[in-house]
Symmetry: C2
Amino acid sequence: MFDFVIHATSGPARTGTLTLPHGTVDTPVFMPVGTQGSVRALSPNDLRATGATLVLANTYHLHVRPGEQVVAKLGALHRFMGWDRPLLTDSGGFQVFSLEGSRRLDEDGVEFQSHVDGGRRTLTPERATEIQWTLGADIAMAFDHVVPGGADEATARDAMERTLRWLGRCARKHAELADGRAGGQTLWPILQGGAHVQLRTEGLRRISDLGAWTGLAIGGLSVGEPKAVMYEMLERLEPKLPALPRYLMGVGFPEDLVAAVERGVDLFDCVAPTRNGRNGSAFTPDGPVNIRNAEHREDARPLDATCDCETCTTFSRGYLRHLFMAEELLGLRLLSLHNVRYLIRLAEAMRAAIRRNAFGPWAAEWRRRYLHTGSA
Amino acid sequence: MFDFVIHATSGPARTGTLTLPHGTVDTPVFMPVGTQGSVRALSPNDLRATGATLVLANTYHLHVRPGEQVVAKLGALHRFMGWDRPLLTDSGGFQVFSLEGSRRLDEDGVEFQSHVDGGRRTLTPERATEIQWTLGADIAMAFDHVVPGGADEATARDAMERTLRWLGRCARKHAELADGRAGGQTLWPILQGGAHVQLRTEGLRRISDLGAWTGLAIGGLSVGEPKAVMYEMLERLEPKLPALPRYLMGVGFPEDLVAAVERGVDLFDCVAPTRNGRNGSAFTPDGPVNIRNAEHREDARPLDATCDCETCTTFSRGYLRHLFMAEELLGLRLLSLHNVRYLIRLAEAMRAAIRRNAFGPWAAEWRRRYLHTGSA
């Protein structure tokens, strides 16, 4: 259980299989985000149809509403959501440090204001671990202190040191809850360190010293810093990363997935496919399309002629545009569905290119078409 | 084509099969409403899963947006919506007489203000017929003048007389468009006459004199008058109705379907299952349930244990309540889906009861449970 086997590599890019209690996950993989226990506008059947194997839900949101005890009484998170494949819960660290409302941080944890009822609540490493254990996802994340992308080195070090101390507390709590029984849930550490390579390099080493992990997340990127900074960080870290599944949190857009897989990343999550879909923006092999544009009014073609999703095999661009102009709920679903399927297919294509040991040429060709670059 | 065969009766209640260009429809039947070419929050696959055989769309709305020429360029209404089973279009009469905004009526037709762009537009019997021909539903409806439920006899007679004159014009236009080729689309007349039995009786006779119809709609009921008035009107009309499929427009709620089938009605449409579903109200055999109620918070039971829909076979009441409290779009879909399936199953149950020639006892038992009445 929790094994990760790498089948092929192509430069730093790799493809493998991660074994989890609720099934296996082929990597690179994109995880749709079901923040509140529902991937916005999509049903579990829709998600299965996209080929999703691993879905993310959020500890902060489910703790605040409906509360992890309610989820437990309704059979824990898998049963609650009607999703029988693997799940990962984020720890809530990112949310308490980024959501609106006042918060108070000390060594013990974070006191914050619920966005639902305004009440004061506290998350500590132990509480975040307990809540995730109660929710029962396959993978739980350690509770971390996230700083903005532009944080100076002293601020970033302070947060990284705290994240490391909290990791020790999460791991102890998780072991206590598991009580020697392996197999139900694993806990992954999150590497912080802002945009400071030496901090992250040190963090990597110290995480390894803290235990034998089954995966590693890279947090605190894609939080406002320029993309080039993220790409360079991944390049610098890659040779030093342990032989574990690598999860780049909160990423991303298609071009980010390609760039990060090229730099050795295995797992991704992002709200972009569903959020952009609800705004009428669709991923296609030729770049994003805004379905509200007047040019689609009488366009009988599918959104993406290469796509096998329900949206693309059933409806015209003209009809999809009509749904958005007429504010029909079905439009939100159909574009979300397509965008998730697009990213799942993108991951499939990347796995195939890696198996052919041809990731570089594949990525160049992909970029030429998606980003409309003149040459590879 | 357009044949209607009655298989069994149980008092005035009857069950039959209506043959239409895109398939057959077993009656009594409930039609989900796809006003703008989409049944709110549901996809064509969802509708097929509910067992829907006939779906309604609206001429006024599709004319105003995206325009029937756009629908035609995208392959006409069936292809546009991705629905390959029978369709019926309402004529727009009800909308131009009931929607907000100023309108000017004369013998030729109605000038009204578009609710989308505020522009002045005109619908006449000929235009409404032409638009519906362009949309291409299996059944088109005649353009009618609808008056409020409490209209006095003079007002109701004026509107009925105009509706009859307009019916002649619709029929001539429809014959001209069909140009001798039968089979693509049929036109159904709408009986008006307000709450005045003698007017409606006269209207019935005069509609029959105007042509050999394939169906008959009863309009102008369920528009504000007490329910008892509608039920009595149906009782008084029933012995005089021709041997055609009878469509009671804009009805209804479960108790209205049962009462109207008991009085010889065959077809129904209503936005109630989807509108109420989006408001968190679900039909169940024991009456409506408001899923937002706190009592459902930790309820692991399905919404309706007798139901075979995706919502009831997959999710708990507690999860459905969470979706509504958290304003997740999936909740709107899941309750709409269940409510439509509920009405389709209700029609199935009524057909079975009629075939057993046991509609009366079945209805009494149904009411005892749904309306919580003490006795049959």
